[in-house]
């Protein structure tokens, strides 16, 4: 064997050994996103509508309820801390495998203040994306070569005790994308991307989040750019884009400089011919949210999610095809909403 071939063989062997150890350390055993993406890729039939956003979406929309009411296949593509860059990537990924007709894009202000895409939230998705340009362009845009490193060796950003990881990965449930490892005391994966949370908020809980809205720059330049890219992509691919906001507790929202953000999103939607359904502005009579319906400062509980999904599906089905209908369901301003229909966290 020539020296170069000998060396190449040894390097390949070393790489193989490294990949084996990477497998023992890369902890994907309890990943919701792994199962969610697998189900999206292997969906029986065509996914007609997707809901994209962060964990507020992941825990806020029961896809099965939405599918029944809206009479189409709805899939929840939410993931932890997903930003607009991730939403863009996952919309493209879903559209590669299905003929998506509608995208419900969560534009909650808390997702849109950062001036760049976070690495961890990128890896949460790309760890389980199929090989392709979409995956690597998203990875490279976020993290450059470091992103590629993390893709080859995902144990860099997500590692567990090898003994437990190996045990978990060798189970049939893991190999067949079962739900055993994603069923916990506090929450469980329900299928089609939805995670049901058993945790309930209560009076005295701390309702505050880190992100703040700056009145003269309600959305970061990075988020604005990504929103534009998503809008253009949907337009070019004949996809209806609907901007939505998942309900946050009023105890959280009322601390924010929220109205300028609402005005900005409304103006953006009007300029681009989009629907903007802000469920934080829902009128009295459509949805009464109590402490039990929230699990913390930003997430709906499982009970709240199923309650909300029903309303979301109804309103979306009626309002998305008729912009005049939208005004029937929503207040113009958040102040009006707080005065006339605050949720239990504010009452």
């Amino acid at each position: 064997m020539s020296d170069k071939l000998r060396l190449t063989t040894k390097i390949l062997m070393a790489c193989l050994i490294a990949l084996v150890f990477n497998w023992t350390a890369f902890d994907s055993v309890q990943s919701y996103t792994r199962i969610m993406l697998h189900e999206m890729y292997k969906y029986d039939g065509n996914i007609d509508a997707v809901i994209v956003g962060g964990s507020e979406v992941l825990k806020g929309y029961d896809s099965n309820i939405a599918s029944k009411i809206m009479n189409q296949n709805v899939f929840n593509l939410g993931s932890a801390s997903q930003q607009l860059g991730g939403s863009y990537a996952i919309i493209k990924e879903a559209n590669k495998n299905h003929k998506i007709e509608t995208v419900f894009l969560d534009v909650g202000f808390q997702r849109n203040q950062a001036d760049k895409e976070g690495e961890l939230q990128t890896y949460i998705l790309t760890d389980f994306f199929h090989f392709g340009i979409n995956k690597y362009s998203y990875l490279y845009q976020t993290a450059g070569f470091k992103g590629i490193e993390n893709d080859i060796m995902p144990c860099i950003h997500r590692h567990g005790e090898p003994i437990h990881v190996i045990k978990g990965k060798l189970t049939e449930d893991y190999r067949k994308y079962g739900y055993k490892n994603v069923t916990h005391d506090t929450e469980k994966y329900m299928g089609s991307g939805f995670v049901y949370s058993y945790k309930n908020a209560k009076h005295g809980d701390y309702f505050e989040i880190e992100e703040n809205i700056v009145s003269n720059n309600v959305m970061s330049d990075f988020a604005k750019r990504k929103l534009k890219e998503i809008t253009n992509y949907c337009y070019q691919n004949d996809i209806k884009l609907v901007l939505i906001e998942t309900p946050l507790p009023d105890a959280t929202l009322s601390k924010e400089n929220y109205q300028p953000y609402v005005d900005y999103m409304r103006e953006y939607a009007n300029k681009n011919g989009l629907q903007y359904l802000n469920f934080n502005l829902l009128k009295k009579g459509y949805l009464e949210l109590t402490f039990d319906d929230f699990s913390d400062a930003v997430h709906l509980s499982g009970k709240g999610a199923q309650k909300f999904t029903g309303v979301f599906s109804d309103v979306s089905a009626k309002a998305t095809n008729n912009s005049e209908e939208v005004k029937k369901y929503f207040y113009d301003t958040y102040l009006k909403k707080i005065n006339e229909n605050p949720d239990e966290t504010m009452r």
């Binding site: 020296d3 000998r6 070393a14 050994i17 490294a18 350390a25 070569f145 490193e149 950003h157 005790e161």
Partner: protein
Amino acid sequence: MDIVTLEYFIFIFFTALIYWSLKGKNKWIVLLFSSLIFFFANSKPSTVLYMLYSTTSVYFGTILLEKRDERKKQIIAGAVIISNLAILAVLKYSNLFIDAVNFVGILFDNSEPILHRVSLIAPLAISFYTLQIIGYFIDCYRGEIKPEQNIFKLLLFTCYFPMMVSGPICRFSDVQNSLFNNNSFDYQRVSLGIKRIALGLIKKIAIGNRLFSVVSIIDADISTYSGYYIWISALLYSLYLYMDFSGCMDIISGVSNILGVKLPDNFKAPFFSRSTREFWRRWHITLGAWLRDYVLDSLLKSRIYINITKISIKKLDKKRGRNLSVYISMLSVWICMGIWHGNGWKYVLGEGLWYWMVIVLGMMLESKFNNLRNSLKIDANSNCWHIFQSIRTLIIFSVGNLFFKATNLNSAFNQIIKSFSVRGDIGVFSNLISDNSNIRGLTNVSVLLVAILLVLIVDILIYKDKDVFKIIAKKGFLARWTVYTLMIALIVLSLGTHSVPFAYAMF
């Protein structure tokens, strides 16, 4: 471009591929281009002017030295050396001077600082390449080497990219042949280089990152981790510094090996040293050698030093007079050592004067220590005595590092006072592990211990002048690949540790 990244290894791969594939006499040009690319990727482009000045001033300086009388040679040498040192001094050590002026101001009751601290951008590796190019110039001045006729080859010697990160400080004669040699692919050399890189990665990420995480927890909360924790932090920092710096050297040497350029070693099992003097012959070897060959040697031959020796001998007796002048010459070297390490008085004290004091006291009291040891009937050649000496040396080194890692001189003294005046709380010890994702868990602890054991074995072999990789290469397939598998495991299972930049990368 951090050298523990995929980017760097892809860069090496393509550099090596192009370098090996080219035929002809001028393959070194590939190394020059790669070095300049590396420089621009890691430094503000305008700072290349400093590096170009260093190279051209030395190049033309050596030309001007030819056929000149001694007086003119001294003037030219002075101008070249001083101008290069001046650039280094201004870019790296301005604040040292400013702090000294402000301190004098305080003594004269000035409440406001006389001068304000500056923030100047120094090019990558200026502390390394400046000493390296000055060393080359002095060697030419002394007639020890012939000046390099090709300015671009000299530029390559200045900015050869593996050494740009953390040295070593090379002598031209040591690297000249291999650097300009048109090396081609060699299986043994490349294989050895890769193994050396792997060892460096183990030191840096399996051990160094983990130790540093413990040091960080202690240093971030001195009020909780007070008393003896301050000394634990200093000791662990010493070990971390070794793993970080020598790990970096292993990676750099491994990369350079792959390209066929042999760099001098910078470490030789320093923690087995029996004394501080021996320690500094085994730690950052090339810096110590540079200071010895170009500062101490020049000083010992200088008129000032000869006069000092004469006066000392006159005032004291011959033996004590000679000793005093040696101590004074060593003081100059150690002050330079301290200054080189950083832009602050804590470095002068902690990395310079402290060691000078220890070494001088050791020399002055050597006979008394020997008498005491003999009276206690301790065998100087025994392993126990050697272990005692090594631990003593590590403690001395850790005291110096307490200054090195402190924010400033005041902070260092405060820590020393606190370490004796406050009692450490044993109850928080477990937090150093439980609060630390780099150490917590069976895997992390196992990897750390196995990696330390591996490095210990390697260092024992180095101390005994044995080459660990040659020993492994002679073993059978199963034994070799068990070791390689273990090394790969230690690296992969440590990739998730929080990484910090190499400690000497900013020099």
